[in-house]
């Protein structure tokens, strides 16, 4: 499998990263190199092998359902690039 212009555009859209036209060519070649290299895994027989999502095998526990209020909205908004009246501000998204 190899990545072409349209795949890079699609992936960049999914990742929400703008790729400039002059970056595209080199990125395609880098990504193809990396994917070509990881393609080595195809050689491995993984028939009947369970995928391993985590090495953690202890049982999870349920926390007590106690409501906690750790942070104020002021604290939470403090790092926002733009906020107003206790809200995060974004460009208009509804027509």
């Amino acid at each position: 499998m190899s990545i072409d212009n349209s795949t890079v555009k699609k992936v960049a859209l999914l990742a929400r990263i703008e790729i400039l036209q002059n970056e595209e060519k080199i990125l395609i070649s880098e990504l193809n190199n990396i994917l070509g290299w990881v393609d080595d895994l195809k050689k491995v027989d993984t028939e009947n092998i369970e995928p391993m999502l985590s090495v953690f095998n202890e049982s999870m526990f349920m926390r007590k359902d106690d409501p906690k209020s750790n942070f104020t909205s002021e604290e939470i908004l403090k790092n926002a690039p733009e906020n107003s009246s206790g809200f995060f501000v974004v460009p208009k998204v509804i027509e």
């Binding site: 890079v8 960049a12 990125l27 092998i49 391993m52 939470i76 790092n79 926002a80």
Partner: protein, 483 residues
């Protein structure tokens, strides 16, 4: 002013107890030394005021004999750990001005033990790198130089490069690091130090900026194995804020001193004699096996047949997890924002400007391998190979107690090298990544030098939650090496 640069944590603790010096004196010494060594670029944020205040508090406690474990010990904190009220950037422009209003569990545990923060150490952006060259705040220099060319500057390794360089140049007594595929062990090796990655789950990941959640683990970078045990003792905890932090009892890691390696089996994996392994490193590895033999341990050859697939597996899983974790940086709630009239261009411009090249490359790979049509072929396949790699270790540990390998295939390299081809940089981690995928504890201890007097580290990998044996083996290396 007395020179405190060669102190270890352990000797500083005893000096503070005996009132040879105060924590304020120590702290002032390191502050001055950090300022004199700005060119190394070890710190992104310096917190000298906080340090002096905390040191004075520690001195009061010492006077009252109510010392905690790391009372008054000045350390560096990797800029990946969120610190309440202190800027935390993860080495990225996108978090250039981020000031957390909560404390990571690992840093909280250290402050509760009396440690004093000198500053936040530089690192590869979001811990993605092996040379500390991807930081938005500039690369870090290794204080060590090759014998034949004192003008040549080398990388400190990465991603915990600021931490390693700071400890190696005596700017602090120890520092924290985080290890996803080798980010503690590799820089420790490049800077002639001890780097310990504990078992996955030993330290809480709460408040540690996420890279690849199934692999990320905090650990110390120190000058000695004993210091590593002391630091880990204070960093580790079971934490309800991290559902993957282990509830297993935390032992007294200093018990490694009582641990006898006589009769223990030390596995030497034949697959780690990789092509391109530096011959000096191979020699130090051989010396290492002799040291274990002379201590009465038995050397056994073992096989970890899937080793060669560990790095490609890692470079699917880690970017995949990163692409999910880093989706939160959208320019809305915190961090850098590129102001655009339209929400989609706001997202994509913010991320295009806010992330550096290597991070974007990995996010693209991660997004691709998780996308419809490629998920099974790449991501699912990698998860299955991860299982095989983990099985390798499980089988190997039936015939041995510990595994001894080199930490890196090569010594520290000059700044600017391995920059053209990303894969060349990735190969730095070929010997550290397998233990990461299996979640095992592993230490790197400086064991020798090449002809240029650049340090060579040996890695010891242990069974899950058996940090004590790993530390004991590290301490053996420390005793037998000739420096």
């Amino acid at each position: 002013m007395t020179d405190y640069s060669s102190l270890t944590i352990q000797s500083a603790i005893s000096g503070l107890r005996k009132k040879d010096f105060t924590s304020v004196e120590l702290t002032k010494f390191f502050i001055e030394k950090i300022q004199k060594n700005n060119e190394l670029n070890c710190f992104i944020t310096k917190t000298f005021e906080i340090a002096l205040k905390k040191a004075a508090e520690s001195d009061e406690r010492i006077l009252k004999n109510s010392n905690r474990q790391l009372e008054g010990i000045p350390i560096g904190m990797k800029d990946l750990f969120c610190t309440n009220g202190v800027k935390t950037t993860a080495g990225s422009k996108i978090l250039e001005n981020f000031v957390p209003f909560y404390e990571s569990t690992v840093s909280k545990n250290l402050w509760d033990s009396g440690a004093v923060m000198l500053g936040k150490t530089n690192m590869d952006e979001f811990a993605m790198g092996s040379a500390n060259t991807t930081s938005f705040f500039g690369n870090v220099l290794n204080p060590l130089k090759p014998k034949s060319d004192k003008n040549k500057r080398l990388v400190p390794g990465g991603s915990s490069g600021g931490s390693a360089s700071a400890v190696a140049s005596g700017l602090c007594l120890a520092a924290t690091g985080s290890d996803t595929g080798g980010s503690i062990r590799q820089p420790a090796s490049f800077c002639g130090l001890v780097g310990l990655k504990p078992t996955y789950g030993r330290c809480s990941r709460f408040g540690m900026i996420a890279f690849a959640s199934s692999l990320d683990q905090a650990g110390p970078i120190t000058k000695s194995v004993e210091d590593a045990a002391l630091m880990l003792q204070c960093m580790a905890s079971s934490d309800e804020k991290d559902s993957t932090s282990s509830k297993k009892k935390i032992p007294n890691f200093l018990d490694f001193k009582k641990f006898n390696l006589k009769g223990k089996k030390i596995g030497i994996p034949k697959e780690y004699s990789i092509k391109g392994l530096n011959e000096n490193i191979e020699k130090v590895w051989k010396n290492g096996t002799e040291w274990f033999k002379s201590e009465g341990a038995e050397i056994v050859e073992i096989s970890l047949p899937y080793t060669e697939f560990a790095l490609p597996t890692y470079y699917i899983i880690a970017p995949a997890e990163a692409s999910a974790n880093l989706a939160r940086y959208d320019g809305i709630r915190y961090g850098f924002r590129s102001n655009e009239p339209n929400i989609n261009s706001l997202y994509s411009k913010t991320r295009a400007i806010g992330f550096g090249k290597e991070v974007k490359r990995r996010l693209m790979i991660g997004t691709y391998v998780l996308s419809a049509g490629y998920y099974d072929a790449y991501y699912l396949k990698a998860l299955k190979v991860r299982k095989l790699i983990s099985n390798d270790f499980e089988k190997a540990f039936k015939s041995c107690d510990l595994i001894l390998t080199p930490t890196t295939p090569n010594v520290a390299f000059p700044i600017g090298e391995k920059q053209t081809d990303p894969i060349e940089m990735y190969l730095n981690d070929v010997l550290t990544v397998p233990a990461s995928l299996a979640g095992l504890p592993a230490i790197s201890v400086s064991a020798g030098f090449n002809n240029e007097m650049l340090p060579i580290g040996l890695q010891v990998i242990g069974k899950p939650f058996d940090e004590i044996s790993v530390l004991a083996a590290g301490s053996l290396i420390e005793r037998f090496r000739e420096f």
